[in-house]
Symmetry: C2
Subunit: 221 residues, 2 copies
Amino acid sequence: MAIDQSGTGTAGSGQGSRLDALAVRLKFHRNQEICGQGQRAANWYRVVRGGVRRCMLRSDGKRQIVGLLLPGDFFGLTAGEEYDYSAESVAEETVVSVYPRRLAEALGDSDPTVAREIRALVLSVITQLQTQLLIMGRTTATEKVSSFLLDMSHRLPNNAPGRITLPVSRYDIADYLGISAETVSRSLSGLNQRGLISFKGTRQVRIVNPHALEDGYRAAA
Amino acid sequence: MAIDQSGTGTAGSGQGSRLDALAVRLKFHRNQEICGQGQRAANWYRVVRGGVRRCMLRSDGKRQIVGLLLPGDFFGLTAGEEYDYSAESVAEETVVSVYPRRLAEALGDSDPTVAREIRALVLSVITQLQTQLLIMGRTTATEKVSSFLLDMSHRLPNNAPGRITLPVSRYDIADYLGISAETVSRSLSGLNQRGLISFKGTRQVRIVNPHALEDGYRAAA
DNA sequence: CGGGACTTTGAAACCCTTCAATGCCAGTGG
DNA sequence: CCACTGGCATTGAAGGGTTTCAAAGTCCCG
């Protein structure tokens, strides 16, 4: 698990669920590994603050991001006894709740309400994976990037309507969408130039024309 | 649910699970809808024979297949009260077990073993979705098709080693991989010409050189 | 034997990856 | 304070891959 940590050591407050009574919070820097592929799956996790990427390694050595977790999202659930992916913090000050799996499963066994809660968590992971498949299945890179931005704008807390702060780098977006980082950059530039989005810095995006984004533009230049 | 059906009406036998006592079997022709996007999620399903595709519709009208279910695979589990995808049989004589969700959930509430079983089912869906993401994330179409073939060869019952019978059409493969059907055909032809695979008809494939397939060839012509 | 769905192949236009180089920014150490 | 460094982002150019439109070819079932 994590090396550097400054967990509070106190039980998580959460949303009043009995599950949260089991949790301990840990804090991570950027790009720290929270759990690693092949390790014993001893814990479940929930993002409290910041963000986490779930990564798998392909046989060709390239990285595929199979999930971007934002506050409220769970991860660490696996079918086998080992994690089949690694999870890394994407931002400084990323905080996660850690749920010892043994205890959580035992609680689920004794309390059907908790068992349903766990099931609901797992199902929401499925929903997110399906959404990612839908995005990756789009034809052109610009369509993928557009869909990604819209999905992020729905998932991120809406400080200002249509304004989002990307929690990840262009490289992360690239590995999430299965395209090259250069193409991500070119697509964003293209959307910017044709006025569908605008930037403040590199991470803050304003979605000017959500409807046009949804329709999926096909030109990148 | 399905219109045309000839279910046996008898309780499923299955693998001796208490869950299977709830099941009723239904038989479907090819391309019949088993459950539809937006419908009330009243049932869970398991493929007994044949195959099922899970489909989602994109805003651009194109179809994305978010899962190919083979015998033993579950589907119909959803986060909300409605199916967020449709499921259709891909082969004649497709048989599925139908589990009324209310009853299955109630059984899960009263029996922790069943609850864990259900959780394991959901987690295996996640594993499959991750595998699909991994395949779709590969760079070239030929790599995607190669990975698809290898995945199928692992999942399909191994009648003869390295011999598989594709349960789906080129169009289905295309919508599964997020590429065009023509490109699927060209990739398969290319793999055939360079001797990595060979065909008997259009659906029966022999994987001649699995290792080379895994490495991911980059040429399609 | 014919129709329809599925599959394959061709050609042109376009898109994406790759390699390369530059620009940008923040943190570091002199 | 400032140059320096390293990571991230942007842009360019060339080559190759994919989509799209089109047209045969093939297979299966009625």
